[in-house]
């Protein structure tokens, strides 16, 4: 047990580890000897999409309503916060789906539902090869499944217990699930610390002795302990400095490639999501408004909210042009999820909104091989149609009133993509 009494270790740097320039951070060896070419070779481009990967998780019509209680002695339920209201998506095996949206849109709630930190109000979440419905299993039956679904939290300063050593934090899942004998736990933890780029010798240190980036690595090591199939990463880098963000993103990409872990990547930084996730879902007020592969979302988004979000991201390349970029200005704030607007929830801030948007809720309609959008006026930026594209499908006229002459079509609302889809230009069903 050579590393119990670390304080007498002459190797140990006496200065504050919080601000130490850490050669220990990268794998053993001094970083200053790396040349740019070597560092560049360790960097990664954006993760690629594997279109044929089967789903490891399919979420269908997932709902989470939090009750709102009245004040006073008798606390009656007077309403519900519809934090997540009927969302469907798939996470491919070994792939990653990004979940973006403004604060309060329900993206973190979704993550907590999938890890079953909340019990959903409705819907299903089928997971793994056995297609177990995580929404229905009891807490007891959930325990073995928790090995496969793990979470990385946003804030590395509050998600690690300050009174536990790194060794016991990372080793706790092994002890709880009894996967390795007690005397082997330490070796496995050291292995994991090395995997995430920390010095295994730091087994006995406390979280306060590490910098933010290193703590996030500890959180990642803990999530990896049980070889999960799905990792829910809730804003894993937003609390970190920019230069450290890139280190952690590169690490996650490496782990994904090596261990085949699927990610549900929750973030509000659209550029990071673009880099990490080949598929992206955009949420607004508890609903998915658009979901597609990276190229479609960032290249030809069809929902006015996605377009507005993208136009609001400040761009470094703007320096070459000077001044501000033209943007779609969204007025006002996100409405209250207790009393969401009727019909389309985005209509109160949407520049395309017409009567139909208040009357009929747009379905999440598949409009391309890997592209779904929930908008009556779906179209490319600056090229939105004048009449609702969905009217014929829903059996309503242009103003959203029921039209008896049109029979509504059956629209698939499942989590995956169909072979046939609705083309918004020709307004017909087409297939590949």
């Amino acid at each position: 047990m050579s590393n119990i009494n670390l304080d007498t270790d002459p190797e140990r740097n006496p200065e504050n580890p919080e601000t130490r320039h850490a050669p220990e951070l990268a794998k053993p060896g001094d970083v200053s000897h790396l040349s740019f070419a070597e560092i560049a070779a360790q960097g990664h481009g954006a993760t690629r999409l594997d279109p044929d990967a089967p789903a490891v998780l399919s979420v269908d019509d997932l709902k989470m309503y939090f009750p709102v209680k009245s004040s006073g002695v008798v606390r009656r339920t007077i309403g519900h916060v519809q934090a997540v209201d009927g969302i469907s998506f798939e996470v491919p095996r070994g792939g990653s789906l990004g979940l973006v949206g403004e604060s309060g849109c329900g993206k973190s709630t979704t993550g907590r539902l999938i890890t079953r930190l909340y019990e959903p109000t409705g819907g299903s979440m089928h997971f793994g090869e056995d297609r177990v419905d995580l929404a229905k299993v009891s807490n007891r039956a959930m325990k073995p499944l928790r090995r496969d679904v793990q979470m990385i939290f946003q804030d590395p300063y509050t998600s690690l217990n300050p009174r536990h050593t790194v060794g016991s934090i990372v080793g706790a899942p092994l002890a709880v699930h009894k996967v390795v004998p007690k005397d082997k736990i330490k070796d496995r933890v050291k292995e994991l610390l090395e995997v995430v780029g920390l010095n295994p010798e730091h087994y006995n240190r406390y979280p306060n002795e590490f910098s933010g980036g290193q703590r996030q690595r500890i959180g990642i090591a803990r999530a990896l302990t049980l070889n999960p199939k799905l990792l829910v990463a809730d804003e894993p880098v937003s609390a970190l400095d920019v230069s450290i963000q890139a280190q952690v993103i590169n690490l996650l990409q490496e782990l994904q490639a090596e261990m085949g872990i699927a990610f549900l990547f929750i973030a509000h930084d659209l550029a990071i999501v673009r880099h990490f996730c080949p598929e992206v879902a955009v949420m607004y007020l508890g609903k998915i408004v658009e979901i597609a592969d990276r190229e479609t979302i960032y290249g030809s988004a069809h929902h006015p909210y996605t377009q507005a979000l993208l136009s609001a991201v400040p761009d470094v390349k703007q320096a070459a042009v000077g001044g501000r970029r033209e943007r779609i200005r969204l007025e006002g704030d996100v409405p209250s999820p207790i009393n969401p607007p009727s019909g389309c929830r985005f209509r109160t801030r949407c520049h395309l909104a017409q009567d139909i948007c208040a009357k009929v809720e747009p379905p999440l309609l598949q409009i391309g091989p890997r592209h779904k959008v929930a908008c009556h006026f779906a179209g490319e930026l600056g090229d939105a149609p004048r009449t609702p594209v969905t009217a014929g499908l829903l059996g309503v006229d242009g103003q959203g009133s029921p039209d008896p002459s049109v029979t509504p079509e059956d629209i698939a609302t499942g989590p995956g993509y169909e072979k046939r889809w609705f083309d918004v230009k020709s307004r017909q069903m087409v297939s590949a």
Binding site: T19, H21, S32, I39, G43, V242, V313
Partner: protein
């Protein structure tokens, strides 16, 4: 008013704090200037001294412990060593600050309107309460708070994050200051709200012709807002010049590192994310020579161990006037174009 000097001039500013472990040099030999109507962006990691240096401009450091040398001139008036009464006249009147966390910066027990009115009355002792309140409503309206005459009686917790930040800006601008320091004004906000706040800052700057300092780590914000950019590392300026120069032809490996560690929302998907290895240094005993050398991946291109032994001078590079850098590299633009750009933004190279 002196006509030749910029509104704010910071010269050789050094800020040291004595701590139990020794003297921490938070800012060292920092010089910059901002003219009226212009925006300076200060970038750097946490602990690089960006906030400490701008707090010194407001005289917010404890005069008993902080050791500040150098010169800070606001409209010709020396701030370093100024007494508390003199500082109080400057603060809020000529210089205002917008803090990052609006919820923490607003007092939770007082109504928004009361806090705004107080800021006005301090510098307008003759103003009546009604005048101050009217001014508060007017400012809330100016920053785009709906129904300002009603919201003026709200408490900070009744405002959303974006509205709080607007209220902070309203408070900062209520006395028409000539210099506004915004310390990470949009970091905690969503992109859509961030865009609204940045628009607002720009509109107000145009209207009042004030000088603005934006402190941020978001290079995108810098690119869209700043006329000049100062990159800080370990308490020192490492690159300083016009924003366009700094972001399109950076000459210092630290700036390259910052650019390469953030993905671009419109860039090539093949462009790689290259982090800066290691962590920022301790300011208690900074590395010898160039403070960045332990993390620099280009120091092998400098002959000998110059980077380890000698602190490079903050001097003009060979690109253009007013572009200062602190680096020993001889031909940084060649390295940037040949080695760095192809990896971090291949599409930019093709355009050239």
């Amino acid at each position: 008013m002196s006509s030749t000097e910029p509104f704010l001039v910071v010269e050789d500013l050094t800020v040291r704090f004595p701590t139990e472990d020794g003297l921490v040099t938070a800012v060292q030999d920092l010089s910059y200037s901002v003219e009226k109507g212009k925006t300076l962006g200060i970038v750097g990691e946490s602990g690089s001294g960006k906030s400490v240096s701008s707090m010194a401009v407001l005289g917010l450091h404890d005069a008993r412990t902080a050791r500040i040398t150098g010169s800070i001139r606001v409209d010709g008036q020396e701030v370093v060593g100024l007494n508390e009464a003199g500082l109080r006249k400057l603060r809020g009147r000529q210089i205002a600050m917008i803090f990052q966390d609006a919820l923490a910066a607003l007092h939770p027990f007082y109504k928004i309107g009361g806090q705004l009115a107080e800021a006005y009355q301090v510098h307008h002792p003759k103003a009546t309460k009604r005048e101050a309140r009217r001014k508060a409503v007017e400012m809330l309206d100016r920053v785009g708070i709906p129904q300002p005459d009603r919201r003026v009686d709200d408490f900070p917790h009744q405002f959303s994050g974006g509205m709080r930040q607007r209220a902070m800006i309203a408070m900062g601008l209520i006395n028409d200051p000539s210099l506004l320091i915004a310390d990470e004004p949009t970091t905690a906000l969503d992109v859509t709200v961030q865009a609204q706040i940045l628009d607002l800052l720009q509109d107000l700057q145009r209207e009042f012709n004030s000088a603005v300092i934006i402190i941020t780590h978001d290079l995108g914000v810098i690119a869209e807002m700043a006329d000049d950019v100062l990159v800080m590392y370990a308490g020192r300026g490492v690159e300083y010049g016009p924003g366009k120069e700094i972001l399109t032809r950076p000459q210092m490996p630290y700036t390259w590192g910052l650019l390469s560690s953030v993905p671009d929302v419109r860039g090539d998907t093949d462009s790689k994310l290259i982090p800066i290895p290691g962590n920022p240094p301790s300011l208690l005993n900074p590395p010898t020579g160039c403070a960045f050398h332990p993390r620099c991946v280009h120091s092998d291109k400098v002959e000998g161990d110059l980077c380890v032994t000698t602190m490079p001078a903050f001097e003009q590079g060979n690109t253009g006037a007013g572009h200062l850098k602190r680096c020993h590299l001889r031909d940084p633009e060649v390295i940037f174009e040949r080695e760095v750009l192809p990896v971090i933004a291949p599409e930019l190279l093709e355009e050239k």
